[in-house]
C-alpha cells in the first residue's frame, strides 16, 4: 500500500494501459503486435496496481477462480478456432474470403484494413484473454504467497 498520490495516479493510468493493450491485441494482423504482446502490456498494468495497492487489496477484485475460468475459456476459444477448419485440415484458415475478417488486402504495400486476416484476429483475441488471465494469476499468486497466505483450492 503506497502513498495516496501513487494510488491515484495508478487509478488513472490503468485505463490508458488497458486501452493501449487492447489496441495492440486488436491490430495484431496489420501492425506489429498481437495477443501475447498486448496481453503482456495489460498485465504490466496489473503489476502496477499490485505495487500501488497491496496484494490483499487487489485480491478482493481479482479472484483466482475468475482468472482460471477466463484462462480456460481463452484456451478453449483458441483450440475451437483451430478445430473449425478440421473439415479441410486442422488450423485451416477458412474465414478468408468471408465477410467477417475475410477481406483480402491489395498485394504489396497498402494502408492496412482491420477486417482482414481470417481467424487470425479472433485467435489474437483468444490468446490475449488467456495471457492476461494467466500471467496476472501467476503474479497475484506469487505476491500473495510471499505475503504469507496461500492460494485457495
Amino acid at each position: 500500500m503506497l502513498s495516496k498520490i501513487v494510488r491515484t495516479v495508478a487509478n488513472q493510468l490503468i485505463l490508458f494501459i488497458l486501452i493501449f493493450g487492447l489496441y495492440v491485441i486488436a491490430h495484431g494482423q496489420i501492425t506489429p503486435g498481437g495477443g501475447f504482446q498486448g496481453g503482456a502490456v495489460i498485465v504490466s498494468g496489473v503489476v502496477m496496481l499490485l505495487v500501488a495497492f497491496s496484494s490483499k487489496e487487489l485480491k478482493k477484485s481479482l479472484r483466482e477462480r475468475v482468472l482460471s475460468i477466463m484462462e480456460s475459456t481463452g484456451a478453449l476459444i483458441f483450440i475451437i478456432l483451430a478445430f473449425v477448419g478440421i473439415g479441410t485440415a486442422f488450423f485451416y484458415n477458412l474465414l478468408v474470403g468471408t465477410p467477417i475478417f475475410g477481406h483480402i488486402p491489395p498485394i504489396g504495400p497498402n494502408p492496412g484494413d482491420i477486417w482482414t486476416g481470417g481467424v487470425v484476429p479472433l485467435m489474437n483475441l483468444a490468446v490475449g484473454i488467456k495471457v492476461v488471465a494467466g500471467l496476472s494469476a501467476v503474479v497475484l499468486a506469487l505476491a500473495l504467497f510471499s505475503s504469507g497466505e496461500e492460494v485457495e483450492e
Binding site: I79, G85, A89, Y92, N93, E153
Partner: protein
Amino acid sequence: MASLIAQSPILIIAIPLAAAFLIPLIGMVSQKARNALVVVSLVFVAFLVFALARDISINGIHIYTLGATSPDLTIPTGFMVPVRIILEVDGMSVFFSIIWSIVSLAAAIYSLSHIASETGQTRFYTLLMLMVMGGFGLMYTGDLFNLFVFLEIASISGAALIAYRTKFADTQEGGFKYIVVSAIASLMVLFAIGLLYAQYNSLNIAYLAQVIQYTTLDKIALALFLIAFAMKTGMVPLHLWFPDAYSVAPASITGMLVITSHACMYAAFRICFTLYGGVINAPVVGWIIIAFGLLTMFVGVTMAVYQKDVMRFMSYHAISQLGYMWIGVGVGLAVLGNPQLLATFGRDAMSGGIFHILNHAMYKPLLFFTGGALFHYTGTRDLTKMGGLAHKMKWTTILYMIGTLSISGIPPLNGFSSKILIYESVYQFHPILTITGIIVSILTLASFTKAFHSAFMGAELPEYKRGKEVPRSMIIGMLILAAGIIFVTLFPSLVVDWAIHPAADALIDQSAYINAVTGAIP
C-alpha cells in the same frame, strides 16, 4: 471411420489438449465428472492409436499437413520446400505411442485413489492430460521446432507434477532439478535447431534429411542433439538428476516419466537415423552410443544394489535398463552403412533394443506402482522400515513378483525374450557387450531379491499390523500393465512381427520417411 483415421494423428494430440482445457471448468462443478472425463478421453485416444497403428501396418506412413487445403498437400503447389508443420507417423512413432497410451491410461486409473487424500486434484489431472498430449506430440511431429515445443510441454508439466506433494521438501528439490535440467537441455536443442536452420532454411525433418551435408556445423548440432536428448533420457554420466526426480514424484507420475524418457530416446533415434541417417559417420556415433550404454548399464545397477529407498532403487534400475536399449540400437547404428552386417545381426540387435523398450515400458511402471503402493501403505519409502508386508498386501506382492521376474530376465517372462535377442545379436558385434549384459542381469535379480525380502518377507511387523490392501483402482492400474506383460510373455513372436520389426525397419529405411513428404505431390 475412414475420415476418422485420416484425421487421427491430430485428434490424438488435440483431444487430450481439449480435455486439459476443459478439466478446470468441469472440476469446479463435480469431481466425478472430471475423473470420468480423464478416463474416457484416454480410452478414446488409446482406441484411436490402435486404429492408426492398424492403418499404418496396411497403408504405410501417415502424413498430416496442418492448415493446408488438403491434409496430404505437404508441399504447396508450384513450390519445392515444405512450408507448413507436418505430422508424420511411421512405424516407430506409432509403436511408441501405443506404449504411451497404455501406460498413461494405467497411470490415470492408478492416480484416482493414489492421490485421493491430497488437495489440488483438478490441476493435477490438468497437468497429467497436458503431459500425455506433450508425449504424443513429441512422437508424432515431423517438424524440429515443433518437437522442441512438445519437449518443453512434457518437461514443464512433468516438473510441476514431480513437485506435487508440496508438504515435503525433497519433492520440491526433485522438481527443481528436473526443470533446470530440462530447460538447459531444451535450450541446447533449440540452439542446434538454429544451427540447422541457418544453413538450410527449413525446419522439416524429412526435407532437412534430404539436403543435409554433414558440415562442421552439422556435427556440432548432432553433438548438441545427442547429448541433450541423452541427458533427458538419463544416460550415465548424465543420469544424476534421474533418481532425485523419479523417487519423489507420485508413483503414477513416475510411471509416466519413464515413458517420457523413452520418448526422448525416440527423438534421439529419430535424429541419428532419420535426420542424419544418410550422411552420418555411423560407426563413430554408434560406438559413442554403445560406450555410454555400457557405462549406463553397469553404473546404474551397481548403484541400485546400494540403495535403501525403494523408489530410488527402482529409478537406478530404470537407468541400467535404458543401457540395454542404447546398446541394442547403437549396434544397429554402428553397422548402418554395411547392408550385409545389418542383415546378419544389426536388424536383430535393433529389434532387441526396441523390444526391450516395450517390455521395460510394461514392467518398470508396474514396479513403480507397487513402490507407490508400499508408500501408500506404510507412509515411507525407506526399505529399512519395512517388513512382512506380504501378509496384508497380497495383490501387490504378486504383481511385484511378476515385475521382478520380468525385469531380471527370468524365463518365461517377457524380459527374457527381449534380452536373448539383444545378447545373441550383440555378441557377434563384440562379445564384451553380452558379458556385461549378463552380469548386469544377475545383479538386477540379486538387488530385487534383496528388496523383496526386506519389504515383503518376514514376520508381520507390529507397526503394520492394522491397515488393509491398497484401494481397488490402484490394483486395476497395476493389473492393466501386468496383463500387458503376460500377453507379451505368451506371444513374443506375434509382438515382434507386428510391432517391433516395422519399427526397426522404419528407423533403418530413411528414404521412405523422406519420400512421404517430398515425393507426395498430389
